[in-house]
């Protein structure tokens, strides 16, 4: 028996390593994804003043501070009995959509995407954004950077800072948009719609058109059958800021549809000794360990989870792309690498939603916040972050101090699925006799599809 270690796993957020144990004949014995980090926000936020939670918890993740900030403020809206004004909700959505565009583009061009845009066997020194700049040229690279910046700029306009904004107050927000800023958002949204389409055509041309991806997409090495979870609107289309949670089975049939406040009736978390990351599962089925089986409560979240847990996209252009996806890969789709395609479809979906909202006068007129009511104790808030469903749950005492905190973060939901995907990829690579560092990158290709965020996942 021997052991192969990939440490650290790279081009993702946070820390992690993969330990692969092999049998004497070189085949896989078992592979583990291990997350070595824990900062323990759930503990050190206890005792803090509730109003600082949106800023404290945004530090769970500097890649996705906005969804933490928004899930947190939604939690406080409930705890303080202060439903936000219509204008505040619209402004929060603007911030969220800007963030979604930025984060998804970051993944495709900087993090997981280079494996596909350059090929997974590109030499290690080139398999990154610097390789993208060299291969695709500074002109396209500058367009990528420009559109990422649009997303960041929308967050900054409202929250003062693009990373870790200061914005949410129970019942509303601290700042609105001027008409000039609203017009700027609208023109950035138009440009993002165009760039989402450009990115999708790059995807169809360079990625779907490549031998590696065409084979890998449909190979069992990168396939995993699980349940799926995502937030939906009343038409069962993906919703990103507010909605009910929908859990579907491996055939796409709805298993549950619930309000975020009731999440504990549906989701449990298991603990394993070898990692600081917990393993959430569907409570009705329970936790059976790292086993791919319809008897096991493993589910996926994120762009592919949302695609599988919904029936169509809410905007015209994204819905067209969704139909092509469905025709090509089916729905539900269990091909892990389809995360990339669904992610880019969401860039288009969110850009269209952003453009539609930017046409509304509600952004520039009306009250920014409602007064807070009597503190009612517990609040639960959830949003869809780029990587999936994000749930915050606090108990607030009469003085406005935090008494208890529970957080379930997108990559935590995906913990079991990612671990299973890694083991499957490792099994296939070892079976082909592939053990060197570059070949082992194909194992990382499986986990990068999820756009994991392990700093978030252990929090």
């Amino acid at each position: 028996m021997s052991e192969i270690e990939i440490n650290p796993i790279t081009r993702l957020e946070g820390h992690g390593n993969i330990k692969i144990f092999t049998e004497d004949d070189g085949t896989l014995k078992q592979a583990y994804l291990q997350i070595p980090e824990l900062r323990a926000f759930e503990k050190f936020c206890v005792g803090r003043q509730a109003e600082y939670m949106p800023q404290l918890t945004s530090r769970i993740c500097g890649v996705c501070p906005v969804p933490h900030h928004l899930a947190s403020i939604k939690t406080l809206d409930m705890a303080y009995n202060a439903p936000p004004t219509e204008r505040a909700t619209a402004l929060r959505r603007i911030m969220h959509y800007g963030y979604m565009i930025e984060d998804h583009l970051l993944h495709f061009y900087y993090l997981g995407g280079p494996d596909l845009l350059l090929g997974p066997d590109t030499p290690v020194g080139k398999r990154n954004i610097i390789g993208i700049i060299e291969t695709y040229g500074k002109e396209i690279a500058s367009t990528i950077m420009e559109h990422r910046k649009y997303g960041q700029e929308m967050v900054r306009m409202l929250g003062g800072k693009a990373i870790h904004p200061a914005f949410g107050i129970p019942g509303g927000v601290s700042k609105g948009l001027t008409e000039e800023e609203r017009d700027e958002v609208r023109s950035m949204a138009e440009s993002c719609i165009e760039f989402a389409q450009t990115t999708l055509s790059i995807f169809h041309d360079k990625v779907m058109g490549s031998d590696f991806f065409a084979d890998a997409l449909k190979s069992s090495e990168y396939e995993l059958e699980t349940y799926n979870l995502g937030t939906v609107n009343k038409d069962n289309q993906p919703e990103y800021y507010d909605g009910d949670l929908r859990l579907t089975d491996t055939t796409g049939t709805q298993l549950a549809n619930f309000v975020p406040f009731d999440y504990l009736d549906y989701i449990g978390e298991a603990v394993e000794e070898y990692s600081y990351m917990k393993f959430p599962f569907y409570r009705k089925l329970g936790w059976k360990g790292l086993v791919e089986s319809p008897e096991n409560g493993v589910y996926r979240v994120g762009p592919l989870g949302r695609y599988n847990a919904s029936t169509s996209y809410s905007t015209p252009l994204a819905n067209e792309e969704g139909k092509l996806l469905e025709k090509t890969l089916g729905r539900p789709c269990n091909m892990t690498l389809a995360y990339h395609w669904t992610r880019l479809t969401e860039v288009l979906n969110v850009s269209e939603m952003l453009r539609d909202l930017a046409d509304s006068d509600i952004l520039v007129e009306g009250e920014l916040r409602n007064p807070v009511g009597e503190i009612q104790g517990r609040g639960v808030g959830s949003v869809e972050a780029a990587r999936g469903t994000l749930i915050h749950d606090y108990v607030v005492d009469d003085e406005g101090l935090i008494k208890d905190v529970n957080l379930i973060v997108p990559t935590t939901h995906n913990a079991a699925a990612i671990s299973l995907s890694i083991a499957k990829a490792a099994r296939a690579e070892l079976a082909s006799g592939n053990t060197n560092v570059d070949q082992m990158n194909r194992v990382e290709v499986a986990l990068r599809a999820y756009d994991p965020c392990f700093g978030c996942a252990t929090h």
């Binding site: 990939i6 440490n7 650290p8 790279t10 081009r11 957020e13 820390h15 330990k19 144990f21 078992q30 583990y32 291990q34 070595p36 980090e37 824990l38 900062r39 323990a40 503990k43 050190f44 803090r48 003043q49 109003e51 600082y52 404290l56 530090r59 500097g62 890649v63 900087y110 290690v124 990154n128 700049i133 420009e146 990422r148 910046k149 929250g159 003062g160 800072k161 990373i163 870790h164 200061a166 914005f167 107050i169 129970p170 601290s174 700042k175 504990l264 449990g268 978390e269 603990v271 394993e272 000794e273 070898y274 990692s275 600081y276 917990k278 393993f279 101090l401 529970n406 990382e444 965020c453």
Partner: protein, 324 residues
Amino acid sequence: MSKPKIAFYWAGSCGGCEVAVVDLGEKIYDVVDAFDIVFWPVAIDTKYDDIRNLEDGEIEVCFFNGCIRNEENEEIARLLRQKSKVMIAFGSCSHLGGIPGLGNLSSRDETLDYVYRKTPVFGNEDGTMPCTTCVKDGNTIDLPALRTEVSALDDVVDVDYYIPGCPPPLPVIEGAVAALMSGELPRKGAVLSTEKTVCDECDKEKRKKMVGKARRIYDDDVDTSLCLLEQGIPCMGPATRGGCKAACPSANMPCTGCMGPPPASQEQGSRMVTAITSLIAVENEREATAEEVAEALASLRDPVGFFYMYSLPTSFLKRRYNDE
């Protein structure tokens, strides 16, 4: 001639410092032209063994973000210090301990117990906890231990410069990179940002007296054109170094202190009390009494968590002292 090597690393961090570097946008072309980035886990596939194989001092500059929360953070900090000529603490967590530094308000055991047993997990009836060594399916697996306390980077290795902020603002990063590229660096130990405070950079009108009662940000309407602190909202502006152009007050929210103490001030909590005291003294043309200071700060229910939101491990308090 090969280009000088630089490294970016994150320890106990959120990744915001990485995104701040990505937000340099096209300016990254200049960095890539001038330097060879040998280590940057968020963006480049270099592994720890590749760094172990470098010569000592082979890396020209290492930008290190994140606090020292576990044994792995400490080990990699020592490794990178050994391999780097210049070590820069980048961002609040490595500079001051950061928000994860609030972890010093409880013991390691309390922390692990809460996270894995007290939160409503429903999947851990036997009370399993992460273990530094375990046997799973016959395989022995090691896991880094949490340290008993959270530290800033200079608590474990020698640090040459500090770039403050959560995350560091773009102009501050650009200034620091320009200084590095020109070789015109200040004295060792310098914080590479302005000498001003956040108040100096804030454009809200200041009347140099308390104009409102102590309140919390969600209380009555606030005049967003006026100084928030003078209206009774706790704001860390006077106790915080600038460089951020008062980003949070510009969004009508109080400064929470991420840039750390201003020059000539060792820590933020005591500086903040001094600032409030002098605000009251100027208003009354006499020294402030303890009661008046307490009254001005009456809305603060968690002074430690507010004054030291980013700097507890490097403050006078440092940590809660208890059974460990």
